[in-house]
């Protein structure tokens, strides 16, 4: 497979990821990651100052699956819809053969059951993408949150 095909596949991965969350297909979300992975939502101030504390920190797909089950069955949080707005990803070849590093800026609007929409989050994805066979997946997705003063709470993934 040549790189232009791979880049198209990765761009599709970025789009599918955000649409899956926004369409409330959270069960698809863990599948965008490799089995051993990193999904981390880190406040920008911590990232900038070298502090590791994160809002969400999962190092296996199984932890992502647990989060979806918890959100569906266990947790109480604000009822809302998400809408991700995202820049095109900026992609480059990664250090390991066949891997890619990616960056994309995002904003997430949240809408409450009364139809009131607010800007909920803004930041950047810092990603490492690998090919699991023919399928690109996130080996790492570090969500650096500019809006680290979280409005109310952060339940659904970004």
């Amino acid at each position: 497979m040549d790189d232009s095909v791979r880049l198209q596949q990765i761009q599709a991965l970025y789009l599918e990821y955000t649409h899956a969350i926004d369409e409330d297909e959270l069960e698809r979300w863990p599948g965008f990651f490799t089995e051993r992975c990193l999904y981390q939502v880190i406040p920008r101030e911590n990232d900038a100052r070298g502090h590791p504390a994160s809002l969400i920190w999962c190092d296996r797909r199984a932890m992502l699956e647990d989060r979806v089950v918890a959100l569906r069955n266990a947790n109480i949080y604000n009822l809302h819809w998400d809408r991700h707005l995202m820049s095109p990803p900026w992609l480059k070849a990664g250090a390991a053969p066949g891997s890619f590093v990616g960056r994309a800026q995002f904003a997430v609007c949240q809408t409450d059951p009364g139809g009131n929409t607010r800007l909920f989050a803004a930041g950047v994805y810092r990603d490492l993408i690998v090919f699991d066979g023919e399928q690109p997946r996130f080996k790492e997705r570090v969500v650096v949150l500019d809006s680290f003063n979280v409005q109310e709470l952060l339940a659904t993934p970004i």
């Binding site: 590791p52 504390a53 994160s54 932890m63 647990d66 266990a74 979280v150 409005q151 339940a155």
Partner: protein, 421 residues
């Protein structure tokens, strides 16, 4: 202390054992203003930060007391200082960064320059320019420093007070709080980072929440199901003499499947015996203290919470943002001598706490729902009788709201709202 006449002067608590809380106290702008004066600037100690955040001379960090911006600094001699972050000249914010190191602090507006202790070092054009202008001859820099707070530290926690003669910090904290701080703050700390969260609720709804063990085993299915905290566990509910501080904890492994199933009958599936994590590592932990306590919450009136939940250790600073909004500022820490594996436990378990945490996210939602639903209900009150009425005393269990009543006792006394006042 004398106060101007106010419509609040006739406001009194409806009963003497504080089993009712008027919803008005969560909404009224005049009450909020009085809180800022009488509580946060009153005879209290407010948590400002950790000494570990300003380890070296000239280090500083900004913080908040009530609605007042404050700076905490480390002096040349190692002393810890705090001052209001407002220029003594025309009122501009002096220190603009959250953290830093500086041997002086200069206001950007007219270049008034202050020492790390908050004293005025110099002003431009004091004697004028070429014989023109300048300050009057009786201008004394010593009289124009930044407003300083009294500062006291305990086990690396920094407290500040606006009171002229604050009580001794140890007396203020009391026996239960110091005993449980002693349990946690045993070694030099390493700060792991911060969470911040703004909740659309009055700050006191949060302070009620964290001293209420009744909700903890019911709202938080995650805690109940996995036994990090359950109402059926052995635990204690301890109050300070004035009522405003509390220590609440439960001990893991002190209940059994039978009693849990029995007592969680009738809840909305808050205990799910057959629920398992695909990645159980989240809840595996390496206890720092060997007493079985999996969940401990210390609250110090009016703005500090210290928690230990499994391996996570944190302070939470309560920053009021008006009658209907509060910011929570979470500072996570471990110890300097933590192994990489211990740090990993702490970081992984952050998935439980903070604004995105399986347990803590729910508190934000619960108190937001209260704030939302009490609009227009200034004349009614909440009902606080779990654990009984009457004396406000320690309990040998966690099925009680007595700490909530204790909070209101101290609050009402300081605010002049006590029924006997």
């Amino acid at each position: 202390m004398t106060h101007a006449i106010s419509p609040l002067d006739s406001f009194r608590w409806p009963n003497a054992d504080y089993t009712r809380t008027p919803f008005r106290v969560f909404q009224d702008a005049d009450i909020y203003e009085r809180e800022m004066e009488r509580l946060f600037k009153g005879p209290t100690w407010n948590y400002l930060g950790l000494e570990a955040e300003i380890p070296e001379p000239d280090d500083y960090r900004t913080t908040q007391v009530g609605n007042v911006a404050v700076v905490v600094t480390r002096g040349k001699n190692g002393s810890v200082n705090a001052f209001v972050n407002r220029c003594a000249h025309r009122g501009a914010t002096v220190v603009r960064r959250e953290f830093g190191k500086a041997d002086s602090h200069t206001c950007i507006y007219h270049q008034w320059c202050y020492s790390p202790e908050g004293s005025l070092l110099g002003v431009p054009y004091r004697r004028g320019v070429a014989g023109q202008g300048g300050y009057p001859a009786d201008f004394k820099p010593a009289e124009h420093g930044l407003r300083k707070l009294a500062v006291a530290t305990y086990k690396g926690l920094v407290f500040g007070s606006f009171a002229d003669e604050p009580p001794a910090l140890m007396d203020y904290l009391g026996e239960h709080v110091t005993a449980h701080l002693d349990r946690i703050f045993v070694k030099p700390l390493k700060v792991l980072g911060y969470h911040r969260q703004k909740i659309s609720a009055n700050w006191k709804l949060y302070f009620e929440n964290i001293k209420d063990p009744y909700h903890a085993g019911l709202l938080h299915m995650f805690a109940a199901t996995f036994g990090t905290y359950r109402s059926t566990q052995q635990g204690k509910t301890l109050l300070s003499p004035d009522g405003g501080h509390a220590v609440v904890y439960s001990v893991m492994g002190t209940d059994n499947a039978e009693t849990v199933a029995e007592h969680y009958q009738g809840t909305d599936n808050k205990y799910q015996a057959d629920f398992a994590l695909k990645e159980p590592k989240l809840l595996s932990w390496d206890p720092d203290f060997h007493d079985g306590i999996g969940n401990l919450i210390i609250s110090v009136f009016p703005n500090l919470v210290v928690h230990q939940i499994l391996n996570t250790l944190a302070t939470r600073q309560v920053r009021p943002l008006g009658p209907d909004r509060v910011e929570l500022y979470w500072t996570y820490f471990g110890f300097e001598d933590d192994t990489p594996q211990k740090t990993e436990f702490r970081l992984r378990q952050l998935n439980l706490v903070g604004p995105a945490g399986y347990i803590s996210m729910e508190d934000g939602e619960a108190i937001r729902l209260v704030q939302s639903a009490i609009q227009g209900e200034a004349g009614t009150a909440s009902f606080i009788e779990m654990g009984g009425r009457g004396p406000i005393v320690d309990a040998e269990h966690v099925v009680t709201e007595v700490c909530t009543r204790g909070l209101w006792k101290q609050y009402a006394r300081l605010m002049g709202f006590a029924p006997e006042a």
